[in-house]
């Protein structure tokens, strides 16, 4: 089972990659409280898509797991799993846990 901390580090790595393409005012702080999606988030929809793609890619490269983050289940949840780094980490952890139980 992959630890939450490793998953969060992967998300931070993807955030740093995406930050390099963003103007300073849109760049994200690599903290678990950072808001990724919602009214108080800095990312526009395009940057959020880029970040999700970067996270999926890094999960595959660094942890050798293939996940699809933005499926029907993710977008239909009452509380979006993309709200903060922490909620996204929890969501990815739950996806991987389910996969390992299959």
């Amino acid at each position: 089972m992959i630890e939450k901390e490793r998953i969060m580090q992967v998300i931070f790595g993807a955030m740093e990659d995406v930050n390099s393409q963003l103007p300073p005012e849109q760049q994200l702080e690599t903290s678990k409280e950072t808001v990724l999606f919602g009214r108080s988030g800095k990312l526009d929809s395009l940057a959020l898509v880029t970040l999700i793609v970067a996270i999926e890619e890094k999960l595959e490269e660094e942890l050798e797991v293939k996940v699809t983050l933005a499926d029907e289940r993710a977008v239909s949840q009452r509380k979006s799993p993309f709200k903060t780094v922490e909620t996204l980490t929890d969501y990815i952890t739950s996806l991987l846990k389910e996969e390992s139980n299959v």
């Binding site: 395009l46 880029t50 793609v53 999926e56 890619e57 595959e60 490269e61 293939k66």
Partner: protein, 234 residues
């Protein structure tokens, strides 16, 4: 070319796909091809994957190899497709699912995974395949026409969604070309179809590469969401 462009072509086992692999490898592109069958030819600067374009796992694996090996993908030619020619009343559901899977889901899937690689370099050219059977609303090909009409609208929506990533998406609609795809179509039907074109002849492979050459030029960065039908149909 100042920099070698990396190109992925689907359906390179034979016919138009094989011709395009040869054409672009000959022009100095690094060509990656895929087909449900192994390639029965080799080319310098050509790498072949054996897969079904509607198999999500295999498509993701192929794009993963391209990303890790070349770090870029500049061009995608979504040529893989299957046809079904039969009266609507005699078309089995299995045929419907097969055609939609390969032509629509396959094109969607390869576009999605290829775009993920392209957007990293903020550059990409995607060319999808429709057919003149769409504007002709060709009878006897209901599900094939429906699948290729879907490609037109898929292209136009993707053009809008991918424009900000520096990726253009266009479609070519070839006229009948003498390949296995039309082998089972009666001659009379083909002759009738060609008579409905503005220019009354079969399409040639070069007609197709001519349009693709235009779509994939770096200078065509303001050309997206377009459909070019060959033979004078619209």
């Amino acid at each position: 070319m100042s920099k070698q462009h990396v190109m992925l072509i689907t359906g390179t086992g034979k016919g138009i796909g094989k011709y395009l692999a040869e054409h672009y490898a000959g022009k100095g592109f690094k060509v990656i091809g895929c087909d449900i069958k192994p390639a029965d030819y080799t080319l310098e600067s050509y790498l072949h994957f054996c897969l079904d374009v509607s198999d999500e796992t295999k498509v993701r694996e192929m794009l993963g190899v391209i990303r890790k090996t070349y770090g870029q993908l500049d061009i995608l030619i979504n040529n893989a497709g299957i046809a079904s020619m039969n009266h609507f009343l005699l078309t089995p559901l299995r045929t419907v699912k097969n055609v939609l899977n390969t032509n629509v889901a396959g094109t969607f899937l390869v576009c999605r995974e290829a775009s993920k690689v392209m957007q990293k370099n903020h550059y990409g050219r995607i060319v999808n395949f429709s057919t003149i059977a769409v504007p002709l609303k060709l009878e006897g090909e209901a599900i094939y026409v429906a699948s290729k009409a879907a490609i037109v609208y898929l292209t136009q929506v993707l053009a809008k969604e991918l424009g900000e990533f520096g990726i253009t998406v266009n479609t070519i609609g070839p006229a009948p070309v003498k390949t296995d795809l039309i082998r089972s179509v009666p001659q009379e039907k083909i002759d009738n179809l060609i008579r409905r074109q503005a220019i009354h002849r079969f399409g040639e492979f070069r007609d197709i590469s001519n349009v693709i050459d235009f779509f994939i030029r770096p200078e065509s960065d303001f050309v997206t969401g377009q459909v070019i039908y060959l033979g004078g149909l619209s």
